[in-house]
Amino acid sequence: MSDTHAQTVAYVRESMLPEASPPIAEKGAVKWLRENLFSGWLNTILTVLSLLAIWYLLSAIGPWLLNAVWNAQSLRECREILDGASGACFAVIKDRWHQLLFGFYPPHLYWRPVLSLILLFVALAPVLFSQVPRKFLGLSALYPFVAYHLLWGGSVWLPVSVILGFVLGYVAFRVLARIAPLVAITGAILVPVLWWIFFAGTFTSAMTSVAPIGLDFVRSDRFGGFLISLVIGVSGISLSLPIGILLALGRQSDMVFVKSVCVMVIEFIRGVPLITLLFTASLLLNYFLPPGTAFDLILRVIIMVTLFASAYMAEVIRGGLAALPKGQYEAADALGLDYWKAQRLIIMPQALKISIPGIVNTFIGLFKDTTLVVFIGLLDPIGLSNAIRADTDWNGIYWELFIFIGALFFIFCFGMSRYSMYLERKLKTDHR
């Protein structure tokens, strides 16, 4: 008894067997294929159909892309080089990329839009990413003036006088705040308005005659291409969010009159196509303004696009406000916060967080809608593609231009939607 398998029973194995390899159908690529592509007859059919579709697309577009011609002066030359084979003629992009990007902006001044774009990302960094120190936000507030001066040029004193208005308003607020808050707010609004109406013009012309510094002036009709989409898009995006928040708050308000006006504005703007608003800007604004007023078409378009996006923004934010539990409002009241403090500290941070996807979707929609300005005679990328085709050299070229324009829009819009996903993940505070 002591010499037979002292430790264990006879039929129990003493040593571990080496691991057997799994069946061939349960490992590696075969398993993945079985599970993901051929798990049933329906899936198999779908897989085969998709492969066929991909093959069809590739065989149609692939050779065309591979044979692309990059160096030619005209479509005819492209066709000669291709010699009957099917192929893209991307030479048109090489020839006209500057027009598609900048329109008729003077070529020796291209550095100005480029610099504004770079500065835009610098100014956006503190807003977009929390790792950047907060104190750079002040510089971001200066960006609109810098960008305006860089893009349009003219006397440097015009933006300076506008900034001065804001500074004066702030000073008035601080001085008058000792008297009464209401006086301070009235002063903070009245002083800059009075400054801009009565003194800013004199100040600008006086300073310009004393110290004529500034960049070359570029007229608005020289703007075009992707530059115009970006100018309208970025200004519309940055202005529509605050106006949208105000409209949403107005719609939620207890004040019957304010509420009904906000509802009417929102429903009217959402009920008509953007293109009718743009036509209003280009055709009808002369009727509504005092005789002899003429102001820049790009500015009018920015105002209309902003109004349009604000109404959509208001609805998105209203959704966020409605999704907040009522307890949050009551908690803010219980803490004794007044309306604006409650909104700023408790309600808005949560409501905006909930509505991030909607807000970014509205931004993307606005950016895409900037292409509609082609209908009122501004030369956005689509308008320029028609202009390029009108040239005898490039008459009959379509797909290459469309691919270039589409790719540019795709990069910006896709980037925005990815950023919103990042923001959602970052701000996620629930534990799931």
Partner: protein, 423 residues
């Protein structure tokens, strides 16, 4: 007695005389002050705008009148759902444009719904390659402006399709699709149309004159649907009473299709196929390139958005619902039909309707490919010819507003019907 008096004195708000400063600092009055101020500013602004408009109109020597709608239009419209020629009025032209807008909107909504539902469901499929393919479709179409898509589809139709002459000869370069029924050419798509041997004439009501034949067919279809609904309600009643559901499928088919077939045969309906005559196709229905480009552009673009709504709606239903249905012993098909879909639809329908609204508003981009919608007729040529920008734009905005408010009103009715009855 005295204690209740004390109590009343302690709890009631002390009566104080009204002072003007209370208008600003008392919560009860402040909102009124703000509203009065707001109203005042608003009226001031409105008065300023109206005053400017009136003085501008006077300076231009114009009046404000809609009389131009009765003047002869003098321009042609290539797609005419109702009778129209260039001698008719601007009002008639606007009506034609309006009908074209509606036709395009309905077609594009149908395409977007079909594509969106298919792509949204397939994006959630376990099949790796199908899921990726749908993601690519959705992202590519969502992130590129709809105007560019419309222009691209317009270019595909005019540049990449064969000319009618390519269909000619013994060995033609191009051939018709679906057994010689459909011809896709660079002048448009030709499809067979339904014609009648016996014509009952037109119904004359005001500006439109719908064909009596089609009205009859339409009426029979509606009546069939209504009768089928009654049949199913009856079957449910029988099931509730006896526990056995009578078989209805063959009765349904008979009720839905039978009368329609009878009426079509009675009217002598036949298919008119397009065929090549001379330099172009004749017969059938001609769908212009502008319509096809707008339809595909709007439909496929919006389909990507609908797909995302559908996906979100399905994902919003918690897995517990499926598991509960399985625990009750339901089949997967029934689970989908009776448990998942009714709940998902509640999430899907509101954004879907707002996509329909977007399509309707985006039909105004028809100008890009020369589609003669309301924007191109009333808001385009009519305004250019008469110089009545103010009236024309106002009328056009009101019409679009009316369409939008109708659609969103329908959505509100639907929403209140399917809303969760919470207690």
């Amino acid at each position: 007695m005295s204690t209740s008096d004390d109590l009343r004195r302690m709890t009631s708000v002390p009566k104080r005389s009204f002072r003007p400063s209370m208008l600003l600092y008392d919560q009860r009055y402040r909102s009124i002050t703000i509203q009065v101020f707001f109203l005042f500013m608003l009226m001031l602004g409105a008065a300023w705008l109206i005053d400017n408009t009136v003085s501008n109109l006077r300076a231009l020597g114009r009046d404000f009148s809609f009389a131009f709608l009765n003047a002869p239009a003098g321009y042609d419209i290539n797609q005419r759902p109702i009778a129209y020629d260039s001698q008719m009025t601007h009002g008639r032209a606007a009506l034609v444009g309006f009908l074209n807008t509606i036709i395009l909107a309905v077609l594009a909504c149908a395409l977007a719904t079909v594509l969106g539902v298919v792509a949204g469901v397939l994006r959630l499929s376990n099949n790796w390659i199908v899921g990726r393919l749908m993601t690519v479709y959705i992202e590519v179409f969502r992130n590129i402006p709809t105007l560019l898509w419309i222009v691209i589809f317009g270019a595909i139709m005019t540049e990449a399709m064969p000319a009618p002459s390519a269909f000619r000869g013994d060995d033609p370069a191009a051939s018709m699709l679906f057994n010689d029924a459909v011809a896709v050419t660079n002048r448009g798509v030709y499809i067979p149309s339904i014609e009648f041997v016996r014509d009952l004439g037109d119904l004359r009501i005001g500006p439109v004159a719908p064909s009596l034949n089609w009205l009859l067919v339409f009426f029979v279809i509606i009546a069939g649907i209504y009768a089928n609904k009654r049949l199913i309600a009856h079957a449910t009643a029988v099931q509730n009473a006896t526990g056995i559901r009578p078989k209805t499928w063959w009765k349904s088919i008979l009720i839905l299709l039978g009368p329609v077939v009878v009426i079509l045969v009675a009217l002598g309906a036949y298919l008119d196929y397009p065929e090549l005559r001379g330099f172009n196709f004749a017969g059938g229905t001609h769908l212009r390139n502008s319509l096809i480009a707008m339809w595909l552009g709007l439909g496929i673009y919006t389909g990507a958005f609908v797909a995302e709504n559908v996906r979100a709606g399905i994902l919003a239903i918690s897995r517990g619902q499926t598991e509960a249905a399985f625990a009750l012993g339901m089949q997967p098909g029934k689970t989908m039909r009776l448990v998942i879909l009714p709940q998902a639809l509640r999430v899907i329908i509101p954004p879907l309707i707002s996509q329909y609204l977007n399509i309707t508003k985006n039909t105004s981009l028809g100008l890009a490919v020369g589609y003669m919608d309301l924007r191109s007729t009333l808001g385009g040529i009519t305004i250019n010819q008469t110089g009545r920008e103010l009236e024309g734009m106002l009328l056009m905005m009101l019409i679009y507003l009316a369409i939008s408010l109708t659609i969103s009103g329908a959505m509100n009715v639907y929403n209140s019907r399917v809303k969760l009855k919470e207690r």
